[in-house]
Subunit: 135 residues, 2 copies
Amino acid sequence: MDIVSLLRDSGLRATKSRIAVLSFLEQQRVPISISEIAEKLGAVVDPVTVYRIIDAAKGAGIVKEVNLGTGSISYELAPDGHGHHHVVCTSCHKIADVSSCHEELLSRDALKEARGFASITGHSLEFFGLCKSCS
Amino acid sequence: MDIVSLLRDSGLRATKSRIAVLSFLEQQRVPISISEIAEKLGAVVDPVTVYRIIDAAKGAGIVKEVNLGTGSISYELAPDGHGHHHVVCTSCHKIADVSSCHEELLSRDALKEARGFASITGHSLEFFGLCKSCS
DNA sequence: TAGTACCTGCAAAAAAATTGCAAGTACTAT
DNA sequence: ATAGTACTTGCAATTTTTTTGCAGGTACTA
């Protein structure tokens, strides 16, 4: 799915700035913070606009917030709504992707326990560990 | 376990400010951001010190970063190292706790998939859904 | 192709996070 | 109990991040 269709299908206009930001996000192999995006795209998109674009895309469910334990929030493109997960090396911050997560099992159990909740629509899951070089 | 012992056992000095911040954190029923802590404890602990205390406590593994999808990182006391998880209502931001998470299963599968990793030492898991009032 | 609702950039401000340093404090070993 | 020492803190100042308002520009609709 190309970025333009992704935007339109999410009810967002396919503007030059949005295409630039989401394409950039798509090229990243790992999640990235807003200020890093703003810095890298500085020549093309105003920082203020980057904030607004990420906000809109998050609202539309096409980018996902990720907390890699670095103290700041990172973002990644999640075209299908439910992205993958990550393993982060607590020593060198290397990141690997993980896709399996037993979603149904987890959600079912969580819903059973969570008092006052009617449904579970998504989740965020990250692992921390040591990569082979650091261990 | 009282806060003083918790600090000492983690190799941190039990200072007045640290006790104040961690006790406050312990009283919260939901994770809270650094600036909220700083604001609430403003009369007692300097904001700069709050930042440094959270940083030290995070390093020592007695507070945990939590991403509740709000765009900012929250913190909670995690005396035992591995806290519980949460379900967040995407409409009203109500939060419920969840403890079951099939940790061994998840970690084993993640390690199998994560190329270049030697071990998994922890994880972060949050659920998003709708509470009964909002659904 | 014109209309309109939505987006963007700029300038400015507010808020959050970091740094350096001097004074204060917790812990250790007398 | 006490003095030494290394770690902590508060303050002031700075830097970085995030938000806001508004005028002009642009994507999409009919």
